[in-house]
Each structure stands twice: as C-alpha cells, then as structure tokens.
Symmetry: C2
Subunit: 318 residues, 2 copies
C-alpha cells in the first residue's frame, strides 16, 4: 500500500500541501488554519458489536482532524451502494452516521450517492471528507519528535479489529468483544492543552505497531514499547492467542497515540485517565537514540523486534 501510494499517486499528484505521511492536510487560510482530510471505509461486516460503517466513517474523519490538532466542523459523504442493498440496513447505517455526527458536533454538508451494479460493490462503501479549523499557534508533527519523548495511548488496543474479526463468525469463536469506535476529540483536546505535545495519531489499520513504525522511519529514532504497560483487554489477548494474531497490529477506532516531552507525560496521563473512557490510558513507550527500529520490551525484560506489517492479514477491517 505504501509503495502504491508513493509510486502511483504521489508521483502524479505531488504538490506542497500533500503529505502522504499525514492523515490531514493543513491549508493556508486567513482565519486560522483550514485542515482537510478524507478516508474510505469498507468494513465487513457492515454492522458489528459496538458500531457500524456509518458511525465508523464519521469517527474516522473526526479523529483524523482531531489528531491533526483541529476542531472538526463539516463533513461530506460519498456513498457507493450495491444494487439490491437492503433499505432497512441502509437506514440503520445512515441513522447511526447522523447520530455520530451530532455527537461529535459536526454537520454533513455535502453528499453524493452512486449505485453500482449487483456483484460490483461489497454492499456499501463510504468515503467521508472532513474540514476543521486549527489554531495557527499549534505546532504538531512527526518531525517535532525528539529522543527521550514519551509515548502514550488513550485506552485499550485492538478492540475494533478483534470485534470485527469475531463478528465475521469465521472461526467458530464467540465473545462479547465490542469495537472501541468513538470520537477521540476529548482526548486530543486534552493533549493540546498539555505543554510539550509533539505528535498525535489514531492507531487504526495496522495498529500501534504501524504507528510506531511510521514514527521510527520518519524520525530515525528507536521506538521502545513496554509490553507490561500496553493496555489490552483479556478477551482481545485471548482471541489473538487462539488465532495467532498479534494484538499490536489490530486496529483501534477510538484511541489516540500521543508523543510528548517526558516531563509532561504524567500530567497528560492523569488528564486522560480522568476522561470518560480513559481509565486504561497508559504511558507505553519512549523514543531513544539508536537504529530506527520498533522494539518490544517484554514483561520478562527481554526484547523483541516488531516487524513492519507486510501484508494486511485483515482486509476490510475499517
């Protein structure tokens, strides 16, 4: 995917504002900074414990703006509906999308619908673009990260990926796992109020391991994650052990990863832990001088390299 984006799209579309390493583009504007993002959503199944495609799409766009330091304002919605798609299901998903937008304080102000022939659509695909405003004083970016910085996560990891996987009923497993699909705006705003914030990202497709790799590759620093501190639900851990998945590569859809000056980590941790849904927030690792690798410090004190995700073992997860 990375090669596809670099070799095909970036080559043809190169311009100063397009940063393929970022989830949102900051645009010059007279009144604050305009921030613009887009995302496609193809999750299977379309409805899963804890959410559905509609809610996922709103939170995906809102969260991309939130981790860019922006306040989300407006969304656009482009729908690709497969001919014969059940109307009651479309209605449930649209209802959930509208509710999520209201909950996040954003409005869907533009839309388009295309019907694709039966057998060419996978049911329903959505693309959501979002616009937000950012205080021009805010300085965030992967390039601001320094050796010594701390890495925090706002809650348990991999719940979304695990819940969607279970909902496919492919493995004969059952459980009460729910997606963490939610807005991270309160967490992002708390982080912005904490001095020393360097960078935020939501660990969606490819999970925390992929965010860690992006950081290592962009900064040239070593990322060390502490296994004992990673917030993982027992059910997620158990499912991964049974199926041979590594939970560090599973998507979250309502978590934010923050990189912050070490002196501010404790303050951000306590702010996050005080927010609804933030009890499991944790300081999970740090940046160090060294080779740009991602290293997991195991509970027993050993070290294990976390490889970059090569092939996505979980298509249609978000």
């Amino acid at each position: 995917m990375r090669a596809l984006i670099r070799d095909v799209f970036l080559r043809h579309l190169a311009n100063p504002q397009l940063d393929v390493a970022a989830d949102a583009a900051a645009l010059p504007s007279a009144a604050g900074q305009l921030v613009f993002t887009t995302d496609g959503f193809i999750v299977d199944p379309l409805e899963f414990p804890g959410g559905d495609l509609g809610m996922l799409a709103v939170h995906g766009a809102v969260n991309d703006l939130a981790v860019a330091g922006a306040t989300p304002k407006w969304l656009s919605l482009s729908c690709f509906i497969e001919e014969g798609f059940e109307m009651a299901r479309l209605d449930r998903i649209a209802n959930s999308l509208g509710q999520a937008a209201r909950d996040c304080g954003v409005a869907v102000v533009a839309g388009d619908t295309k019907v694709v022939p039966r057998g060419q659509g996978g049911g329903l695909y959505l693309s959501v673009s979002g616009i937000g405003w950012r205080d021009p004083q805010i300085r965030l970016g992967i390039d601001r990260i320094r050796a010594g910085d701390s890495i925090l996560v706002s809650g348990t990891l991999g719940d979304h990926g695990a819940a969607v996987l279970l909902a496919r009923n492919e493995f004969g497993l059952h459980g009460d796992l729910r997606s963490d699909c939610a807005s991270v705006l309160p967490f992002a705003q708390a982080a912005l109020q904490t001095g020393g914030l360097r960078f935020m990202r939501d660990p969606t497709r490819g999970g925390i391991a992929t965010v860690a790799h992006d950081i290592a590759q962009s900064t040239g620093l070593r990322v060390t994650l502490d296994e004992a501190r990673l917030p993982l639900r027992a059910a997620v851990r158990g499912m991964c052990e049974m199926l041979g998945f590594d939970p560090l590569y599973l998507a979250s859809e309502g978590r934010v990863v923050a990189v912050i000056e070490p002196g501010s980590a404790t303050r951000l941790l306590s702010l996050w832990q005080g927010l609804p849904g933030g009890a499991q927030a944790a300081v999970i690792g740090r940046l160090q001088l060294g080779l740009p690798l991602v290293v997991l410090r195991t509970a027993l004190g050993g070290e294990r390299l976390l490889d970059e995700l090569e092939d996505d073992p979980l298509p249609r997860i978000c």
Copy 2:
C-alpha cells in the same frame, strides 16, 4: 435516487448547511465563503475517448465548485481499488488525474486508498471532495430564478454519455465520438462577470432534461426548451436515433447551464462563444409562468412534454 436521498440520508443528516438540491455547500468563514463539494465516480469503461475516470473525477469536483460560483482550490481523493487491478492502468488514470488537477489550478492535498477484495469493486471507484472560495457578494441559487429568465448552455449536449456508451462496444456501433469532459471554470467565471446571473448547474447524470426538471420543480415555473436551438452533434443525434435514447437525458461533463436575466443573455452568449470550446454555446430556452413542467418546443412549432427521468437507463456513466 431522489427518494433514497430524501428518505434515508436527508432524514438522518438534516442540518442548516445541507441542501440536497445543491452540488456544493457554502460554509461560513471569516475570509470569504468556503464552498465544499463531494462526488463519487464509477464510470464504465474506466477509459473512454476524450477522458478517463481520473480526469472525470477532477473535472466533476472542479465543475461543482465552479457552478456554485467558487474558485476551486483543493481536492481530496479517496480510491477504492479492486484487488488485482492492473497497475499500468492505475498509473495512467492517476497520471491523467494529476494532469487535470494541474490544468484546473487545484491541488490534491489529502488522499486515502482502500483495496477491496476481487469481485467486490468494479475495478476502480473514486470519490473526490473539493474546497473552493467564493466572493461573499456572489448571490446564486435556484431560488433566484424568475419568470422571463433565459437559459443558456455553453456547448453541445450529451457528448460524454454518448461517448461512454459507444466505448462499451455493446451495440456493434463504432464512431469517433469523444467525451466533452473538461473544466467549466472559464465559462462559469465569464458568467459571474455578466450582470443578472441567477443560477448555474453542470448537466451531468440525466442531462439537460434533468437540470430543467430540477429548475421547474424548485421554482414552480414552466421551462421551455427550443429544440431547434439545442446544440447537438450529428453523431450524438444519430447514435440516439439508432438506439432509442433521447440525447436530452445524456450526461455532459464539460458544459454549464446558466439561467440569467433576459436582458443579459446576449452578452453572456457572446462571452461564451468567444471562449475556447464555446463556439456552440446557445440560448436554449426560458422560464415562464405556468405549470412546473418541462416543455420542448419542436422545430415544427409543436410542443412535447419532457418527462422526468424515472430509471437511469445508463448505469455507471459518471
């Protein structure tokens, strides 16, 4: 489609900025008016005489902004790529998309790519959102149209629909028809400089007949189109006669329809005819008090009702 949008999406997403009759949303902003649009593109075949999906997607977004009176600035691109899609083809389409963006003076500043499993994608679907700025003095809208106003079109009608249809090779017909796929920005800007402009729209899916129906239904006025003045290529007319299509329902992708005060129609016509590609521009009809119908005044002086498009006879046309 109209019912689907109204009954499902509008009901769940209602908010003051969402106008489902408009192709772009105008948003409050300190510096001029921000205009935001989105569109999905599913054309089959993906490459056709005169264009391809990439160029079509850029022009679609640029044209929605242009007819809203805005200057297009930034685009986002969301791609749904079917597993196994030919890379050389993707490269050609991305190249064409980048070229079209440069030609239109816009930059693609945000993007996302999802790969959908083989058999669930129709090759390649694109969704493009666009942001532009509009002079806050500009007042355009279907609600500004008055009885007596003139209707102009900037060039020949239905070329895109006819070219895509021929490119499918389903009918054993061959010809040298080319899509009109292009930016309408020069035409829209010329219209904005002409006093008395009421409304613009690009006659894409459903053609000029569908734009006329939208106007009749929104204003409560009768729309009369003069058959003798409709700019139609002989090849489009011939193909439609052979296959039983009405060219007035075929999509254009590089034309603009303008409604203007009658006293300004001649001035706009001469401005348009002076632009590259504008030689076929014409005054094609007018608004009248009467039942909100669309009436075609035939070359022989008779009248024929143009029905609203019920079922789209041409899926995947844009």
